[in-house]
């Protein structure tokens, strides 16, 4: 069966510091991968998605970037964090057969 991992689970970083959040998927190959940010009362905002290695689509201009160095690895990064980057970041993968997305446990990022 497929599983999706995210780490770290929580992170506290100072303003201006870099960021790297990792997401890996097991049990499937060539998945579509997604990064979302969840903010209270705002639902889930799609940040990036990837249909293959090295292919990244950005949905919203951000202080963030994404990379997919391997088939089942998706990384969310920032060179310099802003206070507004605080939030709950979710990674997801999509089943091509059902168009359903499966979500990871998320990373709670606090920027101070």
């Amino acid at each position: 069966s497929q599983t999706i991992h995210q780490w770290p689970a929580t992170l506290v970083q100072p303003v201006g510091s870099p960021l790297s959040l990792e997401c890996t998927v097991e049990g499937t190959s060539n998945p579509n991968l997604y990064w979302y940010r969840q903010a209270a009362g705002r639902g889930l905002q799609l940040l990036f998605y990837s249909v293959g290695i090295g292919q990244i689509s950005s949905e919203v201009p951000q202080n963030l970037s994404a990379s997919r160095p391997q088939d089942r690895q998706f990384i969310l990064s920032s060179k310099k964090l802003l206070l507004s980057d605080s939030g709950f970041y979710l990674c997801a993968w999509r089943s091509g057969a059902t168009n359903e997305q499966f979500f990871g446990p998320g990373t709670r990022l606090t920027v101070l």
């Binding site: 009362g41 705002r42 889930l44 799609l46 249909v51 059902t98 168009n99 979500f103 998320g106």
Partner: protein, 113 residues
Amino acid sequence: AQSVSQHNHHVILSEAASLELGCNYSYGGTVNLFWYVQYPGQHLQLLLKYFSGDPLVKGIKGFEAEFIKSKFSFNLRKPSVQWSDTAEYFCAASGAGSYQLTFGKGTKLSVIP
């Protein structure tokens, strides 16, 4: 542009009350519809989905949703809620074959014992 609207931000019910959470979507063409639930401290997980066929869809834990094409709606229902249904519920939509899901802002449900 595609959009999904959820009518209620926070719903408070007593146990055994009936539940209906509203969801409207704006999409051109064939649409796939989903309800996700996020229990406190847990992953976002799928409650139910609609792709085609019977517009009344049954999901896990006694939830169901009805796709009404003429109203662009996909409301979530449960005849009798339990305290364990306390969670945040998200409606989502996707164009058929699309890579992307568009989510509503979510409805927080609090069930009082």
